[in-house]
Structures are given as C-alpha cells and as structure tokens.
C-alpha cells in the first residue's frame, strides 16, 4: 500500500522532511493549522492559545488515557496566509529540546495541495530521540492494551 505521507530523515542530519499531498484546496489545508477547533480535532489536543500571526505564540495541552497532561508550546516567526508558517515547537518538562518547524503550503490545482514540513532539531541525537518517540509510545500503547486484556481475564 502506498502511503501519501513521505518522511525523509537521512543519517547524521539534524532535520526531518515530511511531505504530504492533500485532496484539499490550499486554503482549507492552511485553515486546518489556523482554526483552533480544527487543530484540536486532527491533532487530538486541546488548544489553550493559538495566535496565528508573526510574533504570536501557541500553547497546546494533550491528555493521555491515564489522565496525564502534556504541554506543548511555541512561537510563530513567520506567518504568510496560505503559503508559509515558521514556528518553534517544544514539549514542556521533557528533555527533547526545541525544534524549528518550517511549513510550506503549496497549491497544486484548485482542489489539490501539498504540505512540506521541515523540522530542524538542536542536534543529530535530539532528532533521533524525537524520531523514536512514536515507537516508544507504540510500545506503551501495546502495554496498555495488554493491561486491559489482563483485567478482563481476572
């Protein structure tokens, strides 16, 4: 199966490139990043603050199934509607460092668009740690599921 999302993470580099084509006009794709209620739905997070403008900042909060809260925040450095967002991203109280995100929104046709997201980390090792996160979370999820199963057995 061909996946629409492509990820390029070369060895010994401190960046990740993500590209994805959407069956959406570029204006709608951009809106998904700007309207708090949309961000909340597709990112699965609560939006505490989202100032979509140059010098603006944002704050998200995600709650895991156990009720633990995780904070995320960043500042917006560049904001060009339907074209480009440059912002920082940081997980609060975690040792993963601050990352710089360059998001470019490209119009392909009237109802197709492409997102280019470049993420630059503080160092190669920071990037590799971040890259491993979904894997580690995947293990945790498997474990939670296992606990559920175990509970049902009792």
């Amino acid at each position: 199966m061909e996946f629409k999302t492509k990820v390029k993470a070369e060895n010994d580099k401190q960046e990740i490139l993500i590209t994805r084509e959407f069956d959406l006009p570029v204006e709608l794709l951009f809106k998904a990043y700007v309207v708090p209620e949309f961000v909340e739905q597709w990112m699965g997070t609560k939006v505490l603050k989202l100032e979509s403008k140059k010098h603006g900042s944002y704050q998200f909060e995600t709650t895991d199934p156990k009720g633990n809260k995780y904070g995320f925040n960043g500042v917006i450095h560049e904001f060009i509607p339907n074209q480009k967002i440059i912002r920082t991203f940081e997980m609060e109280y975690m040792s993963f460092g601050v990352q710089l995100e360059i998001l470019e929104f490209e119009k392909l046709t009237d109802d197709k668009s492409q997102l280019h997201k470049k993420v630059i980390y503080e160092s190669v090792s920071r990037r590799d740690e971040n890259l491993k996160l979904p894997f580690v979370q995947g293990i945790n999820m498997a474990h939670n599921k296992l606990q559920e199963v175990a509970k049902n057995l009792n």
Partner: protein
C-alpha cells in the same frame, strides 16, 4: 547463517510488541512470557527468537533459567524508526484531510 532481521519487521507484529512491552517492565523467562498469551509455547518461542535476532531482546542466564530483557541499544538504526514516525503523521494527516473535506462539503 542467520538472517539479520530488521527492527521494523520485528515490531510490525502485535504479539511481538506485547512481548517487548512485557519484558520492558521486568526480565522474564520464556515460560513466564508464554503464560501471557493464548498462542502455543512454540509460537511464542519463535517470536522471542526473532526479537533476539534483531537485538531487541537480550538473554541472561540465571542458574538453570534463561531470562529475557529489553535491549534499548537494539533500537539504534534511525531507518527503523522512520516507519512508525511516518505512520503517526500519515494517520494525523488522514484525519486532517477527512475533517477539512467535511468542512468543504458543508459550505
């Protein structure tokens, strides 16, 4: 010669992910691991063998028993992690697309 298996292949299987999750908490004997699953002891042994071959699990001999534990260094190949990372973003972007398509048809 044994085939060097890649980490992604190892974690693609849900049973193997559950085994990793189990031994991540404590070292365990193959018997103790097998007790957590409905599959046969033989099937579980095969999964453990695959996980060991790709260095996600390591063995430790304690008396007559062999214990397995998680080897975090086994998760060293960056390429092995791109797949779960890509999958995470693909899921999110699929949600984004579905959500915004709904908005589009509402207009």
């Amino acid at each position: 010669m044994k085939l060097r298996r890649d980490v992604f292949q190892a974690i693609a299987d849900p049973t193997r992910r559950s085994i990793i999750a189990l031994v991540a908490l404590q070292t365990m004997t193959p018997t103790a691991i097998a007790e957590h699953f409905d599959s046969s002891r033989q099937t579980i042994s095969k999964h453990i063998q695959i996980l060991t071959e790709c260095e996600l699990l390591e063995q430790e001999q304690k008396g007559r028993e062999i214990y397995y534990q998680l080897n975090p260094k086994g998760m060293k190949e960056v390429a092995d992690f791109i797949e779960p990372y890509r999958k995470m973003w693909d899921d999110r972007f699929n949600k984004l697309e579905a959500l915004m398509k709904k908005q589009q048809s509402r207009k």
